[in-house]
């Protein structure tokens, strides 16, 4: 799970609306995919996330032209529907279901459909929240290149047992290992190439898994 910087706002009209709600301490309207700002949020997140799922780093939006900056006019997204495999996800499910803050920018990410579905309303722990300012995947996560799964980073020796348990729990909740079979194929082929002295093209998805493995293997 890469670190995500959500400061780049293209859907400015939505953001202004959201900030007004927050400043006035108003309840948000109920969450629905037909809300006028829904697509604006989705595409702004895709722009920020580079078309990848926020948790698994799987490519879920095929074309990068779909989230090109040129598609926003006066703070609103103007292009038609895009083909993608994602859903707008509320990191903390309580902020969605009780809907006082269903449209809070900080709580929203684009993730793979199945990951959102499996996560459902399980409670979350912000120890693994990709846009937290001090979130560092290389400090918190390790990648097992045999099982192709992420797990809490023990090798640094910096994490306590309770932090390790919290991280492993969140890896499960966020479904970070759900894509392991796809990730396995992608990462292995690139690592194998490196081992044979072939330089692969830059990774387009699963870059954290690839990078941790590269470091672990000193390649």
């Amino acid at each position: 799970m890469r670190k995500i910087d959500k400061s780049k706002i293209l859907s400015a009209v939505y953001k202004k609306w959201e900030e007004a709600l927050e400043n006035n301490q108003e309840h948000h309207p109920q969450y629905t995919a037909s809300h006028r700002f829904h697509k604006d949020i989705v595409m702004n997140l895709y722009h920020i996330q580079g078309g990848l799922c926020a948790y698994t780093e799987m490519k879920i939006l095929a074309s990068e032209y779909d989230y090109d900056e040129a598609n926003w006019i006066k703070g609103r997204f103007k292009k038609g529907k895009s083909k993608h495999l994602g859903q707008l996800e509320h990191f903390d499910p309580k902020l969605k279901t009780d809907y006082p803050k269903s449209w809070l920018w900080d709580n929203l990410f684009m993730v793979l459909n199945e990951v959102n579905h499996e996560k459902a309303d399980k409670p979350t722990d912000s120890i693994l929240k990709p846009d937290r300012p001090d979130y560092d995947p290389y400090e918190l996560l390790d990648y097992d290149f045999e099982k192709h799964i992420f797990f809490a980073n023990i090798k640094s020796g910096k994490l306590s047992q309770s932090e390790i348990d919290r991280i492993n729990k969140m890896i499960d909740v966020l479904g970070i290992n759900f894509v392991k079979d796809w990730r396995k194929k992608y990462v292995s082929e690139r690592i194998k190439a490196l081992e044979f002295g072939i330089i692969p093209d830059p990774a387009e998805e699963y870059m954290t898994a690839f990078e941790i493995t590269r470091r672990n293997l000193n390649l």
């Binding site: 097992d144 799964i149 023990i154 390790i164 492993n168």
Partner: protein
């Protein structure tokens, strides 16, 4: 003859649907019809429907040829226009069922591309076997003999359509049994002749020797049908169930001649009604193929995996197909083990197109590069069970979510062993914990 293409204009979830049923370019049989085809896909995608469409067209053609009707309503018209390309020794011809509008009304009729079907009879004729998924297995075979229906038992060998939606599959047992009984009767008759000779001191040694030699020669030259049934067919598969066909003729009472018997490998006889569902199914479905020896036939088989243990599922396709010469089999299955018996081009995977609501074939080759063996991506025969379930049956992840949590636990233990500073004892203990969990996960430590 074999079917090389199936076309459905509009029926249920199929619309303008074409199946290419030939071997692809680059295959040694390129362009020829597939010898076996396997339909797979989620429930409701229409596997059974495709078997039914094939059945309906073939039954209609048969009716047309036998009765010489033209443009007559045949079967249900809600099937709409549909056709098959039939590949026969003199070429390939399209025959179908079409809605035909004529001056005196509309008809649903069999039509042939250019020729009169009746004239093609000698070139395209064949038998059809249809095994539906819900074949009714008789609970007891012996009882059949007394049933009135047996009086009208048709000569199955002469039938062109063997459809187990209509036939009681137990009847076939009787048909095969006839040859077995005949052989047993001959053996008993000949044995009695010899013992009659031996009984009478007047007969010369030469005479007795000659009769003995004749008897031996007869047995050598006349294949014992029950031995053939056992060695070449049934024992191969029922051996898995710890069973075999009883081949010795033990005569104690007249009933011993009357039927094929199944026994445990240790010799203990098992009455038919005590056999398991799976065993009965294998025996009863194989017998028609064994007894009627299909040739140039089309055989439809829905859910051949029913009631079978996984090991038999991997062999069942080879088992059935070995029994029919130059025939074409169509299977429909939910079993990954059955699917592993097929080459990539022999599999027809059906999928819902969520936008149109129609069903389409998922192609296993790179469409841009073309239908050539080199361009196929999915090879069910090369895959592990995991591979088949994930790549062919689109299963996501593992059969149970618990596995993932245990894998994270294992990775954590391994990392602790590697990076934490542990005493030799703690190291050994951690290592044993790892070995135990890895074993439960069937994870090979690398």
């Amino acid at each position: 003859m074999k079917v090389s293409e199936l076309y459905i204009k509009k029926y249920h979830q199929f619309e303008d649907f074409t199946l290419n049923l030939t071997y692809p370019e680059g295959h040694k049989l390129a362009g020829q019809p597939l010898n076996k085809v396997c339909f797979i896909g989620q429930s409701g995608t229409g596997k059974t429907t495709l078997l039914n469409v094939l059945k309906v067209i073939i039954l209609s053609i048969k009716k047309e040829i036998q009765e010489g009707h033209k443009n007559i309503m045949i079967g249900q018209s809600d099937y709409g226009d549909m056709s098959i390309d039939i590949f026969h020794k003199n070429g390939c011809i399209k025959i179908g069922l079409y809605n035909v509008h004529m001056r005196n009304g509309s008809y649903y009729a069999v039509q042939c591309e250019k020729d009169n079907i009746v004239e093609l009879q000698s070139e395209i004729w064949f038998k059809l076997f249809n095994y539906p998924s819900d074949i009714d297995l008789p609970k007891n075979l012996y009882a059949l003999r007394n049933k009135a229906e047996l009086i009208d038992n048709p000569k199955l060998k002469d039938e062109l359509i063997i459809n187990f939606e209509n036939y009681n599959i137990g009847q076939i047992w009787e048909t095969i049994n006839e040859t077995v009984i005949e052989d047993r009767e001959t053996e008993i008759r000949k044995s009695l002749e010899i013992s009659r000779l031996l009984k009478d001191p007047i007969n010369s040694k030469e005479l007795i020797d000659k009769a003995t030699n004749d008897f031996r020669k007869w047995r050598e030259e006349t294949p014992n049908p029950i031995q053939d049934l056992a060695d070449n067919y049934l024992d191969k598969i029922i051996g898995r169930f710890n069973l075999k066909v009883k081949t010795e003729l033990d005569f104690e009472k007249k009933e011993d001649i009357e039927t094929i018997k199944i026994q445990q490998k240790n010799g203990k006889e098992i009455p038919f009604e005590a056999l398991s569902t799976g065993t009965k199914q294998v025996i009863l479905t194989a017998l028609p193929l064994y007894g009627l020896k299909p040739k140039d036939s089309i055989i439809l088989f829905d859910e051949p995996e029913r009631s079978l243990y996984p090991d038999i599922q991997t062999e069942i396709v080879d088992f059935y197909t070995s029994m029919a010469e130059n025939s074409q089999f169509f299977f429909a299955t939910h079993s990954p083990l059955v699917a592993a018996s097929f080459e990539p081009w022999e599999i027809v995977e059906l999928k819902f197109n969520e936008e149109t609501g129609n069903v389409e074939q998922e192609l296993y080759y790179d469409v841009e590069k073309g239908r050539h063996v080199d361009n196929y991506i999915i090879y069910p025969q090369y895959l592990t069970y995991d591979g088949i379930l994930k790549r062919v049956f689109d299963m996501k992840n593992e059969p149970n979510n618990l596995r993932m949590n245990e894998l994270v636990k294992l990775a954590t233990l391994e990392s602790q062993l590697k990076h934490n500073k542990l005493s030799p004892e703690a190291k050994k203990e951690k290592f044993e914990e790892i070995i135990k969990l890895a074993d439960q996960l069937d994870w090979d430590l690398k």
